[in-house]
Amino acid sequence: MPNPLHLLSQQSPVDKFFLPPSSSNLARDFDWGWNFVLGSTAFFFMIVVVVMCIFIIKYRRRGPNEQTPVITRNIPLEVMWTGIPLALVMAIFFVGFKGFINYDTPQSDCRPVQVVASKWTFDFTYPNGSMDKNLYLEKGIPTLLNITSSDVLHGVYIPAFRTQRNAIFGRTTQIWFIPEQLSPPFINAQNPGGFNLFCTQYCGQGHSKMITHVYVLNKEDYDRKMIELANPFKDAATGKWIPYVKVGQRFFNQSCISCHNVTGAPGSIGPTWKGLWKSKVTFSYSNVLGYTLSPSDSDKKWEAYIRESVLDPGAKIVAGFPNSMPPQPQFSGNTLNDEKFHALLAYIKSVGSLPYTPEFTPEKNPDLFNADAKHPYHPESLAAKGKGGQGEGVTR
């Protein structure tokens, strides 16, 4: 039986003026508390302003030597205007405390989602092991976010759910909620729909761009999305396989776009990808002494360079750019992630306007594209075949 007091907090016009749409269990309690505090503070503020204006007009100075009565003390009045505000603030404290205990103690049957905040993007890891830059939730299912950071302090703030927590390196903080409203659907890159998820703790240059989206889906869409995330190469709706360049472009639009660009415009935090493939690159730092890269180098060397820059960005730094890219672990570890890297590589090459034909396509060898199969060129499978070598990279 819903708490009758919550009837107060349907999205009344006052709420719409002050607050974003309320779409989680926390938001219902919050709105009620907000209206209570808003009412009482507005009332006291009105008293002060009205009394002040009355006194200014009524007791304006008639002459410089005007005598005024000597009133200096009134104990009952003092007690009254100490007691009443004290009672009010204690009530407000209790309202806040009740909501905070609910915010701070997750339910036991929550669906855990791991959030890793890094400099200027969020990585959400779902129970089926797949990882994505956006947060997908199922309506009505209590969800628990285990939040940590991989470098500086960040904040995970969802205004529509009225909840927020900081991400701290070397520590897991938690927020939980029950999404109760479907989020506006994704239309295109310009208006991605969903609820906003901001980073509220200042974290440097890209802090203001560190925004991602929360999509609350019903059961079918959520399950379909989970399958799609597990295997990005197959279009979950039509069942057809998506070409590599398209998948690579989606990876770019999700996270790389916050620092790199494909238009060649100057001023982005990281180097532009336009014409990157086989271009003249000079390094301000490289972990291998005397390492150079020129357009005449082989595909294999270029691919090894890009793979290393994705997995361990600090290894080689292009001149004129800071060493501030966090590693992207989602492109290594198993066959599917390797193939994701090749999709990204395909997109990088296509931005350099080079035709690209993938060696392994999901149609020719579908078994390769389930999450746990080992890639024939993967270091372990190479070692198993006795070829050894550091996985020199894959001829493409």
């Binding site: 940590t148 070397g170 520590r171 897991t172 903080t173 938690q174």
Partner: protein, 113 residues
């Protein structure tokens, strides 16, 4: 000799306080030899507080001074206790959510693992 501006500490008191301090130091060092478990820290701190109050009362003649100076000092200790107390209470509360790992910035071969 006009009335002295401040109280002059008799030499005997100075000497006795000095010897008391030396004895307390020897006491605290020997006390640390034995293993009283949690009480080691408690004993060490009570002896330190004793020595500190001796220095305060006699060497810094708070004993004969205007009481307001003592109030200032005790007020300062209250705020020190408030600061340490609440910061400590909070850090012990959230220790379980910290990943107990070797700090990534300080890598060295741990001794006899």
């Amino acid at each position: 000799m006009p009335s002295p501006i401040a109280h002059i500490v008799p030499f005997k008191i100075l000497l006795r306080v000095f010897f008391a301090l030396v004895i307390l130091t020897v006491l605290t060092v020997t006390a640390s030899e034995f293993n009283f478990g949690r009480f080691n820290l408690f004993i060490a701190l009570t002896i330190a507080v004793l020595k500190a109050s001796l220095v305060l009362l006699f060497f810094m003649h708070l004993f004969w001074d205007k009481p307001f100076n003592a109030i200032v000092f005790i007020g300062c200790l209250i705020f020190v206790a408030l600061f340490i107390g609440l910061a400590l209470l909070d850090s012990t509360q959230y220790q379980n959510s910290i990943h107990q790992q070797q700090a990534p910035g300080v890598q060295h071969k741990p001794l006899h693992p």
